[in-house]
C-alpha cells in the first residue's frame, strides 16, 4: 500500500450535507487509469468533483502522494490536478491556442503573461493532441472531437499529476472516442499521468481501464481490475437491466428477446446467424436455433435472443442427443432458415438437420443465396 500515488480513505461525498455515496476506498499507482461506471444519477460526477476539489467532501480524506489534499493550498492543488468536464468551457472570442494557454495559469506571474517557456509548453501540448495547426482558430468554431482534444491539451499544459475527466467521450463519434482514449493511454505511459474518469461506454471502460469502480446505491458496489468486475452478469445487475441483456466478454448489448413457442428454426454457426437472429427479434418472431458450439460468435447473441438454443460444448462432433433435440424443434416450427452454405466435419449433424427439414417439406429460407 506504500507505493500508491492516489488514495481515498472512507471518502463520503454529497451535496448540502446529504451523503450520496459513502465509504469510498480507492487506491491507484502512478500512471494507472481508473474508470467510474454506474447507472445515470449514481453519483459519478459527484465523486469526480469531490476528488478534484470542486466539492468539499462530507467526510474522509483524499491523499495525493500520501499528502492529504485538504491540507494543500489552492495553488498547490492547481499544479497537481487538472480537469476536463462535460460542461462546456466558456471560450468566448478565444482561439484554441488561448484556451490551451489557460492551463498555464498556476505557473504564470501576477498578470498572467506567458513566458517563452510557457509558450513552448502550449505548443507541445497542442502538438501532442494533433491540434497545432488549429492554434489560431476560434474555439467556438471547431467540432466536438477537436474541442475535446483542445480541452485535453489545456489540461496537459497544467502539468498535473492527476487528470480527472467527466465522460470525456460523450460527444464523440466512434473514431474520435478511440483516438481520444488512445491519446490518454499514451500520456499515462509516457508521462506517468494518473487518470480518473467516468465513462458511459462499458466496452471501452473494460478495455482502457486498469481499475474500475462501480457505483450503485450509496456505496461502491465493486472495485477492481476490469476482468474481475465484468463477470457473471454483473453489468446487468449493476444497471438493473431487466429488458434485454449485456454481454460482458464482447461488450455487446441485445434487446429483449421475443419469447413464446418458436415459429422458426435457424441453422447457424460461424457467426452467420447473428443478423438473422436480430432480424427475427425486430419482427417479434420467437425462434429456436442450433446446433451451436458454445464458443461460436453466434452463441452469445443466440443466448440473448433465441426462445430456445441448442448448444454443444467444446470442439467435438455434435452428438446424437443434440441432433435429436434439434430435430424435435424443427418438427415444431413451420419454417427453417439455414444460414450456412457448407458444414464442417464437426458439425455434420447440422447438415443432417437441413436434409431432414427438407424431407419434411418445411419452408426453407437460405439468406446466403441472395
Amino acid at each position: 500500500m506504500t507505493d500508491l500515488f492516489f488514495q481515498t480513505q472512507r471518502l463520503c461525498v454529497g451535496y448540502d450535507g446529504k451523503p450520496l455515496i459513502e465509504g469510498i476506498q480507492i487506491g491507484l499507482e502512478q500512471g494507472e487509469i481508473l474508470t467510474l461506471i454506474g447507472p445515470n444519477g449514481a453519483g459519478k460526477s459527484t465523486v469526480l468533483k469531490s476528488i478534484a476539489g470542486q466539492l468539499a467532501p462530507l467526510g474522509g480524506t483524499v491523499y495525493l502522494d500520501k499528502r492529504p489534499a485538504d491540507r494543500m493550498t489552492k495553488a498547490q492543488l492547481a499544479r497537481q490536478i487538472a480537469i476536463v468536464l462535460t460542461s462546456r468551457l466558456r471560450g468566448e472570442m478565444m482561439t484554441c491556442g488561448e484556451v490551451v494557454a489557460t492551463g498555464r495559469y498556476p505557473y504564470t506571474g501576477y498578470f498572467g503573461l506567458l513566458s517563452e517557456a510557457d509558450r513552448q509548453i502550449v505548443e507541445e501540448a497542442m502538438e501532442m493532441v494533433h491540434m497545432r495547426e488549429w492554434k489560431e482558430r476560434p474555439f467556438s468554431r471547431i467540432s466536438d472531437g477537436q474541442r475535446q482534444r483542445v480541452m485535453l491539451a489545456r489540461a496537459i499544459c497544467q502539468q498535473p499529476r492527476l487528470l480527472i475527466l467527466d465522460e470525456p467521450t460523450s460527444y464523440l463519434d466512434v473514431r474520435h472516442q478511440l483516438e481520444f482514449l488512445s491519446l490518454l493511454q499514451k500520456m499515462c505511459r509516457k508521462m506517468g499521468l494518473t487518470v480518473i474518469m467516468s465513462l458511459h461506454e462499458l466496452e471501452l471502460a473494460a478495455k482502457v481501464s486498469d481499475r474500475v469502480c462501480c457505483l450503485k446505491g450509496r456505496y461502491v458496489d465493486r472495485y477492481g481490475r476490469p476482468e474481475e468486475v465484468f463477470t457473471g452478469g454483473y453489468v446487468s445487475s449493476l444497471f438493473g437491466v431487466s429488458l434485454g441483456s449485456y454481454d460482458e466478454i464482447n461488450g455487446g448489448m441485445e434487446l429483449e428477446p421475443a419469447l413464446g413457442q418458436p415459429q422458426v428454426f435457424v441453422i447457424a454457426g460461424a457467426g452467420t446467424g447473428r443478423s438473422v437472429y436480430r432480424r427475427l427479434q425486430r419482427k417479434g418472431i420467437p425462434f429456436a436455433t442450433g446446433i451451436l458450439f458454445s464458443n461460436d460468435l453466434d452463441y452469445p447473441v443466440a443466448k440473448a435472443l433465441a426462445a430456445d438454443c441448442i448448444a454443444s460444448e467444446g470442439l467435438e462432433p455434435m452428438g446424437e442427443a443434440l441432433f435429436e433435440a434439434a430435430r424435435q424443434r424443427v418438427d415444431a416450427c413451420g419454417r427453417v432458415i439455414c444460414c450456412r452454405e457448407r458444414f464442417g466435419a464437426l458439425e455434420e449433424a447440422n447438415g443432417r438437420l437441413l436434409s431432414y427439414a427438407k424431407s419434411r417439406g418445411k419452408e426453407i429460407e437460405e439468406p446466403w443465396r441472395k
Binding site: 478534484a52 476539489g53 470542486q54 493550498t73 489552492k74 495553488a75 492543488l77 492547481a78 490536478i81 487538472a82 480537469i83 468536464l85 460542461s87 462546456r88 468551457l89 466558456r90 471560450g91 468566448e92 472570442m93 478565444m94 488561448e98 484556451v99 489557460t102 492551463g103 495559469y105 498556476p106 504564470t108 501576477y110 498578470f111 498572467g112 503573461l113 467556438s140 497544467q158
Partner: protein
Amino acid sequence: MGRKFLILVTLAAVFLTANLCVGTVKIPLGQIAAGLAGRPVDPAAQRILWDIRLPRALAALLLGGALALAGYLLQSFFHNPIAGPFVLGISSGAKLVVAVFLVCLLGRGIRVSSGALILAAFLGAMLSMGLVLLLSRRMHNMSMLVVCGVLIGYICSACTELLVTFADDADIVNLHNWSNGSFSGITWGNVALMAAVVSVVSFLAFLLAKPLSAYQLGEAYARNLGVNLKLLKVQMVVLSSLLSACVVAYAGPVSFVGLAAPYLVKSLFGTQRPLVMIPACFLGGSVFCLFCDLLARNLFAPTELSISTVTAVFGAPVAVWMMLLRGKEKAL
C-alpha cells in the same frame, strides 16, 4: 493591438476637444490651447472653458469610463453580455438611496458633501446588487434575472419619483435634473474626488485581470486553476458597485453605456482578455459618453437633453443588435 488603443485614445482626444469648443458660445481651437496653457484669453471664454466645459468634459470622460468598466465587471460576473449597472437595477437602487438621503438632509438645511453622496449611492448600489444576487440564486435563467433587474429598476425609480413629488420646491429642481441623468453642474471639487475614486477603483479592477481571465472560463475551471472564487466575486461586486455609485452620485443614472461600450470595444479588439479589456473598456466608455454629452448639449441648444436620452438612442440599438447576433450564434 497598439493601433486599436491609439484609435480609442485619438477618439477620446477629439471628442474631448470638441466638447470644449462647441456650445452656445463657440470657442475656437486656438483659444482653447491658449486657455489650457494658461496664456491670457478672452475672460468670458476663459470662464466658460475653465468653470463649465472642462470639468463637465472631464466628468463625462471619467464617469463614462467608470460605467463601461462597471458593465464589463458585471458581464464577467454573470457570464452574460446583457448585464450592466442600469439593466440590473443597480443604478436605480443607488439613485433611490441618494434621493432619500438628499430629501432628508436638504429638508433640514444640512449641506451634503459629494463624498457622502458617493457613500449613499454605494449603499444603494450594494442593496440592489444584494437583491439581484439573491434572485440569481433562485433563477438560473439569465434573461429572467435581467427582467427582474429591470423591474427592480422600475420600482426604485417609482419610489424616487414619489419622493420628488412630495419634496420641497427647492429640492425638486435639483433632484429632477439629476434623477434623469446629466453631467451638468460639475465643479472642480467634484472632478477631483471622482478622479480619485474612479482611478483607484479602476486600478484595483486592473489588478484582478488574471483571476478574471480564469473566471471567464467558468467557475469549475477557475476553481481548478486555483482561483479563490469567493474573494474574487466579492471583489467584483464591490468594485462594480463603487464605480456605478460614483456615476450615480454625480450624474444620476446613465443608461446603456455599461452595456454598449464593452460590447463595441470587445468587437473592435476581437478579444475578451481582461488585461486588454479593462483599459480598453474604460477608454471606450469615455469616448461614448463624451460623444453623447456633445449631442446632449448641442442638438437642441439652448435646451439640453438628459444624457440618458442620448445614450439610450445610441446604446439600445447596440443591445438589440447584440442579442440578435447571439441568437444567431446559438442557432449555428
